[in-house]
Subunit: 343 residues, 2 copies
């Protein structure tokens, strides 16, 4: 069923039917009702391709998922982010189109998105430091919102981010308050902007209290369970092992807990752990009582907010870039306790 057929059956012109359906004022209310009725009856939905060809709007938003060619890892955060964004899109009549792209091809994909005209804007995932994509998108002229930020970027752009620096600063302070001085930082890949900021927060808190950081207890890698396990195991075996771990991901924190238990130690008594928690739906941090003391911030909510920002930008272009900084919430769980007295 297309517009032509529908209008034929109703006995009206395509123009009027189209206007009735799209809520234009110059159509009689009685007529509009008739049209809406018929549309429902015949199960009519306008063809998106035709519609967007006519309007110049794609009614779709792109997500480019960079796929590192080296470490073939899909960001585990991604599913939840998409879920949050997707709901917002549906509510606003947008489709979501996904591109999985080997990171070296990224530039051409963005250009193609513009040329092919199949999205009205896009969300930039996983910003790196001095991320070149931001300049590129500005040059291309495609509206976008960055999930995260790109340190070193001078031109203004729209973004939504968790305040990683303050979250990790506060988490560090929490450990320092408990008496911990020998704190390990198990960070994400520091090519990623968020990881850089988290380290900054950690270092700032340590510096402010005059506590030295130990470079051999600061690691940076992809945040798997095994990474957490191996790193923690190694550190716990070392001379002068850390009494506390500050971790960038709940998944790695699981590995750290395992290493602690393997070493015959008790988490929360012998060794403390504070982690960042993206509140992934399949990885809840305990039920009523949180297992880990954590800086929490819902990635899913972030997805919904990013989507809304982008839609606003698309609907009213020429405005200045917007940004939004979310604060993570520190929730105290069973994984932290006072620093043990070392003989």
């Amino acid at each position: 069923m297309n517009l032509k057929e529908l209008s034929l059956r109703i006995g009206l012109s395509q123009t009027t039917v189209s206007r009735a359906l799209n809520g234009y004022p110059e159509v009689n209310e009685a007529t509009r009702r008739r049209v809406l009725e018929a549309a429902k009856q015949y199960n009519y939905s306008p063809n998106t391709r035709a519609k967007s060809l006519a309007t110049g709007q794609a009614l779709a938003i792109g997500h480019v998922i960079p796929m590192s060619t080296k470490h073939e890892m899909v960001n585990p955060v991604f599913g939840d982010f998409i879920a949050g964004a997707g709901e917002t899109y549906s509510r606003n009549g947008f489709d979501m189109v996904l591109s999985i792209v080997p990171d070296r091809d990224e530039e051409s994909v963005y250009r193609e998105f513009k040329a092919k005209g199949n999205v009205d804007g896009l969300i930039v995932h996983g910003p790196r430091m001095n991320d070149s994509r931001i300049d590129l998108l500005n040059e291309i002229g495609l509206p976008f919102v960055v999930h995260g930020r790109a340190s070193g970027q001078t031109l203004p752009y729209s973004w939504l981010d968790v305040n990683n620096t303050s979250a990790f600063k506060r988490a560090t302070e929490f450990l320092l308050d408990l008496g911990h001085r020998n704190i390990a930082l198990i960070n994400g890949l520091e090519t990623m902007d968020f990881a850089y900021r988290r380290r900054k927060g950690f270092e700032r808190a340590m510096a402010e209290r005059g506590v030295a950081t130990n470079p051999s207890f600061m690691r940076s890698d992809e945040m798997t369970e095994v990474y957490g396990y191996q790193t923690a195991q190694e550190m716990l075996r070392s001379e002068n092992a850390p009494t506390a771990f500050l971790v960038a991901s709940l998944i790695s924190a699981l590995g750290i807990r395992r290493a602690i238990q393997d070493a015959g130690l008790v988490m929360g008594r012998d060794v403390s752990v504070v982690t960042h928690d993206d509140m992934l739906s399949y990885l809840s941090n305990g039920d009523s009582v949180p297992v880990f003391t954590a800086a929490r911030s819902s990635v899913r909510d972030a997805g919904a907010l990013c989507a809304q920002m982008l839609i606003d930008i698309i609907n009213s272009p020429n405005e200045n870039p917007k940004s939004r900084l979310l604060e993570a919430e520190l929730t105290v769980g069973a994984s932290t306790g006072p620093a043990p007295n070392r003989g």
Copy 2:
């Protein structure tokens, strides 16, 4: 840059340019080269919307992600599946469009996909038993491939699935061979077809060896870490605790391992664990030595294969439904050992 402009600059008609770009034979090779050259020079990519309006092909494939309204959980498997599928799509010039849909709205979404014409086909995720979506899609006439199967479905349809029954049967036999008799099954939600099949495999192996199953040691729920932890904890505390756990997900297995350790037991010695492993990129099961004995099957590969199947179906319709059954591979890790002798 659009076709009109491009052909004007080259000094050819739109027809010829279009044909040159699309590889039609009735164009002089020298001309074709000239056209391709110019296209590259001006960075021309045809507008997808126009192209698909003209051809009737959407050049896109839909993924409907059902979002349970009760348990707001995003299937953790999803990211990896998408990654696999996405690569195949790009290679074939297809876009991937995602819809996050509250499960009660699913039917209307499928109908809309057809009416709006923005996809050429779709992948059905998370099939349930007697899943009504299959009949619906057949009725609507939209090509589709199911990732998994729907027991109770009589009409033929295309699917790709892991042989869950045989995987769990074999895993159970492995435990039985080790002398275990008291085996717990920590299953996924049994409204899901895969979970039903896994239980069947478990029960069948037990029955064949004449070992009774214990209903209070067979659980079914969403596969979170906490679910594994709590369930295992409870079972381990009970009279006559199981000596082995058969688990449907590596994530829940992590929780089970935690419960085992909390109980002061050693996994692989006091209690054995075999898990299904979807080989998610961020949850690798150990590095060289697998941590868990596991039935492994890459969800990412499944995504790539599903995508290819669907593209084949789209390209040559009217053929009979195709299907593909993958066998999971049983890899022995450190989490299993002979059944302990109980005093």
